[in-house]
Structures are given as structure tokens and as C-alpha cells.
């Protein structure tokens, strides 16, 4: 199962990324464990400067902007 993490302080862009991830998963029928990380200390452990950040299987895939649904689907299928 894929591990997806969305890092961000809970701003609208972070929420949009989270929604897009859920939508992408729905469209692809891929099973994943999705986790939102809003705790600042936890975020700092990942050395995150600009948010939101999308991580798939512990790798930063998109940072500092909203990941789009099609883009997430592509990343999930890699």
C-alpha cells in the first residue's frame, strides 16, 4: 500500500492538495494510507520550507504548490 503524506499548516492550498489526493485515489482505485501532517515540529523534521508538500512513499514529489489531480495520478502510477 502506498504511503501518502501531505504536509502543511492547514491553509487552503494544503486542504486543496489533500482533496486532490483523495480524488486521485478515487479515480485510480489505488489503495493508500493518507496522512495529513500539520504539526510544525513534525514538518520541520522533513526540512520543509514551502508548503504544501506532497510525499509519496517518503519521497517529496511536489512542494510549495497545489498538486493537481492528473499530476497525482501520474505520480501514483509510476
Amino acid at each position: 500500500m502506498k504511503q501518502i503524506k501531505i504536509l502543511g499548516p492547514g491553509c487552503p492550498k494544503c486542504k486543496a492538495t489533500y482533496t486532490n489526493v483523495l480524488e486521485a485515489l478515487k479515480k485510480t482505485n489505488i489503495e493508500a494510507n493518507v496522512e495529513k501532517i500539520e504539526d510544525i515540529e513534525e514538518m520541520m523534521k522533513y526540512n520543509v520550507l514551502t508548503t504544501p508538500v506532497l510525499m509519496i512513499d517518503n519521497e517529496i514529489k511536489v512542494k510549495g504548490r497545489i498538486a493537481q489531480i492528473n499530476e497525482i495520478i501520474e505520480l501514483l502510477n509510476k
Binding site: 499548516p9 492550498k13 504539526d39 510544525i40 515540529e41 514538518m43 520541520m44 520550507l49 504544501p52 497545489i66
Partner: protein, 127 residues
């Protein structure tokens, strides 16, 4: 910002005392924000968060460094980044330029951009 232990934080009043002792302020706001309103202190550099990963090595390791922004959130992340990269001389200033202005400390520019709201940095700090 409360609930974190990775980064040491100080308030604007303590920062003011550190500045008098020669500490360097590193402002991580974007250039347009700094053009509107800037900290008026002798030792300050601007490294926007958007350029931080490429430019953080400009920050000295041999003097006291206080990281600052608009509300204290972006600078906290930048300080955490520095700590993770081995910096032991960097602290974060809580509450940013918004509280700095409230305290009546020196600035250059238009203070109205930070007055009138609590200005947590998440508006521009995020993304």
C-alpha cells in the same frame, strides 16, 4: 510558536536586546514584502523563503542569528531548516514584524500592512 522543541525562540523585545549586542537578523519574507515594510536594524539580510534552500549558506555560523518574518511561522520553518543543517547559532523571533511594530521598534516603510490583523504568517507563509 508553541508546541515545538526543535528551535529556540525569542520575543521581539529580546531580539531588540540581541540586535544591540550585534546579532544578525535574517528576514525570510519575500522581496515585495520587505519593500513595503522593513526592520530598521543595523545588521540584517533578506533571504526570501522561496530562495532559502539555495542561499542559506550565506548565513554565518559564527555569530548570533535571529530569523524573522511577518508573523513568526515562516522564520520558524527556516530556523528548523538551519538547525537540521547543523546551525547552532540561529533562533526564531516569535510573532514577526507584526509584533515588532506593535512594540514600537524601528521599521522602514508602511506599518499599515501589518496593523489591523493578527497576521499569522500562514497567508503568505504557506506556499
Amino acid at each position: 510558536m508553541e508546541n515545538q522543541t526543535l528551535v529556540k525562540e525569542i520575543c521581539p523585545t529580546t531580539t531588540q536586546a540581541w540586535v544591540k549586542k550585534g546579532a544578525l537578523l535574517v528576514d525570510v519574507r519575500e522581496k515585495d514584502e520587505v519593500e513595503q515594510l522593513a526592520y530598521d536594524v543595523p545588521n540584517i539580510i533578506n533571504i526570501p523563503l522561496s530562495e532559502f534552500e539555495e542561499r542559506y549558506t550565506e548565513i554565518p555560523t559564527d555569530k548570533e542569528v535571529v530569523m524573522v518574518c511577518k508573523g513568526g511561522g515562516r522564520s520558524l520553518r527556516a530556523t528548523g531548516f538551519l538547525v537540521n543543517h547543523g546551525y547552532t547559532n540561529a533562533v526564531n523571533m516569535q510573532h514577526g514584524i507584526a509584533r515588532w511594530v506593535q512594540k514600537g521598534f524601528a521599521t522602514k516603510g508602511d506599518t499599515s500592512v501589518v496593523t489591523g490583523s493578527d497576521s499569522c504568517c500562514s497567508t503568505s507563509g504557506c506556499c
